[in-house]
């Protein structure tokens, strides 16, 4: 497929003429592919897409989200997932198939105000998102600092194969859970670590579309520029401990990130690719 030059677009901008497949945030008008969002237009695996730079979270099946329990009926919890659709978590998902509204107390498992990590199992135009916590690392989040960022910044915060979030976690000695819906929970034993991590996350959110962000985040966190140096500067025991405690969430994030990369290559992926290629003296 012919590669197009990546460019900045606003809604209505013509990206390219010709027989290309419209992928994400683009439409076909006549013979042209038109952008429908503000963002960066590029050619995907088999078509044209725009990586958006603004917008609210629209649920997608298999997204891992962080939600807040806002209500429950006799059969399900209602969960706020930072979207225009509130999600539902069936009580049977937690109590099992022999759940009885008369016998089981739903408040004992998840009370109003609790935070959960969940996966979206079903969502389409006709019904609200359905959640499940039946998977590894899903379920109630016991403690942590809740943050909200734009959902369009999540891939940037995770970074290529989790590089950005790992940098922040290791430098601040925190554990960071990220939902695809833009909700983030930061936990740590030290409040300074949380504060620093929050600062770094905010920086990523505000400067998501700019180049060399990883270097600036490292500068903010006083991390030497190479990852190996960053690791060696930390006490080995702590790193091991943090890695092991982080691994579930990270592995989750990484898996998710890989999926994101597969379906819609993210800003940072391309940027890092550019940086790498520029180093190699190659063209993207």
């Amino acid at each position: 497929m012919q590669e197009i030059k990546r460019k900045y677009v606003v809604p209505g901008d013509k990206i390219i003429d010709g027989n290309f497949r419209p992928l994400l945030n683009v439409i076909r008008v006549g013979d042209s592919i038109i952008s429908t969002r503000i963002g960066i237009a590029e050619s995907g695996r088999d078509g044209i897409k725009v990586i958006p730079l603004s917008g609210v979270y629209i649920p997608r099946v298999n997204d891992i989200v962080i939600g807040k329990i806002i209500d429950h009926s006799s059969l399900s919890w209602e969960v706020d997932i930072n979207s225009c659709f509130s999600a539902h978590l069936p009580a049977q998902d937690i109590f099992g198939r022999d759940f009885s509204p008369a016998r089981d107390d739903m408040n004992k498992q998840l009370a109003i105000g609790d935070l959960i990590t969940a996966r979206i199992v079903a969502f389409d135009r006709t019904r609200d998102p359905m959640l499940t916590v039946q998977d590894r690392d899903l379920g109630r989040i016991p403690r942590g600092e809740l943050l909200k960022i734009s959902a369009t910044r999540v891939p940037r915060l995770i970074g290529k194969r989790g590089s950005m979030i790992q940098t922040i976690e290791q430098a601040t000695q925190t554990r960071i859970l990220i939902g695809q819906n833009g909700l983030i929970v930061v936990t740590s034993r030290s409040s300074e670590g949380i504060q620093l991590a929050v600062k770094a996350i905010r920086m990523v959110e505000e400067e998501a579309h700019t180049a060399n962000l990883t270097q600036r985040v490292k500068a903010l966190l006083n991390v030497p520029d190479t990852t190996t140096a960053a690791l060696s500067s930390l006490p080995q025991q702590e790193v091991a401990q943090s890695s092991s405690s982080f691994s579930p969430s990270l592995s989750q994030n990484n898996r998710k990130d890989e999926k994101v990369e597969e379906t819609e290559s993210t800003i940072e992926e391309v940027e890092e690719e550019i940086e790498e290629n520029v180093e190699k003296g190659e063209k993207v």
Binding site: R37, I40, V56, C84
Partner: protein
């Protein structure tokens, strides 16, 4: 219509010193309201308007929700201090009408079917009015909607044209609106080449109508460039092109 003075002088200059085909100075700032999903502030001559967009979000009351698409709600409101004499803050007949035409001018550009059972709210608050506030409001609302990340097939630009001293002029101001012969606000999608709003207050001949419409569309295209520039500035700073392959 009785005219109290010449609105165009011997040199062809208008009351504010513009030529017939000149727009007033336009400035647009994007993302000025943190709590909103998208926002814009426009200065269109002496007009000063803030627009805030919320959504897509849950519809309240729920019975208003549509099963197949999103609903768009617009509220055009003039502040009590926006005019020479105090304006009653309660919604007037004119404001209700402008809210409606504004919604209808924006709807064709929005891909509302992408957000079923949701609502998008657009609040247009006029801080200072000087004629052409609906066009300025539409232009700012369109930018704010793009800032909110709502799927749009084009940006709606808006500009008025009119008849002053039997001459067709672009972007008429308050005095020209009151004393002139006709006022024609137009909203237009430049890429799709479609008109989404066309109103006319006054009397024009068929030739004058065509000339007026052409001039308004020309004005819309100029307004579009400013809208686009404002959006690009907010998201990409002063860069106009992605500098990835420069090295």
């Amino acid at each position: 219509m009785s005219q109290i003075k010449n609105l165009i002088d011997d040199q062809g200059k208008r009351t504010d010193g513009r030529t017939a085909e000149q727009l007033r100075e336009i400035k647009i700032a994007v993302g000025i309201i943190k709590n909103a999903d998208g926002s814009a502030f426009i200065e269109f001559g002496k007009n000063k308007i803030i627009v805030a967009v919320y959504g897509p979000r849950e519809v309240h009351p729920k019975h208003m929700a549509l099963p197949d698409r999103c609903i768009l709600r617009c509220r055009y409101h003039m502040s009590p201090f926006s005019t020479d004499t105090r304006k009653n803050p309660a919604p007037s007949r004119r404001e209700v009408e402008i809210s409606k035409v504004m919604r209808e001018a924006l709807e064709p550009a929005l891909m509302l079917e992408d957000y079923p059972r949701a609502a998008i709210d657009v609040y247009v608050e006029v801080l200072q009015a000087d004629g052409g506030s609906r066009c300025a409001g539409i232009a700012a609302a369109s930018v704010a909607l793009a800032d909110a990340g709502i799927n749009m097939c084009d940006i709606v630009a808006a500009c008025a044209a009119g008849k002053v001293d039997d001459k067709i002029v672009l972007d008429i101001n308050d005095t020209e609106d009151k004393e002139g012969g006709a006022d024609m606000p137009v909203a237009y999608m430049p890429h799709l080449d479609q008109v989404t709003l066309l109103q006319l207050d006054g009397i024009l001949t068929a030739e004058q109508f065509n000339e007026c419409l052409d001039m308004a569309i020309k004005g819309c295209k100029m307004v579009y460039q400013i809208q686009k520039q404002a959006l690009m500035h907010k998201y990409f700073g002063n860069e106009t092109e992605l500098k990835e392959e420069s090295q």
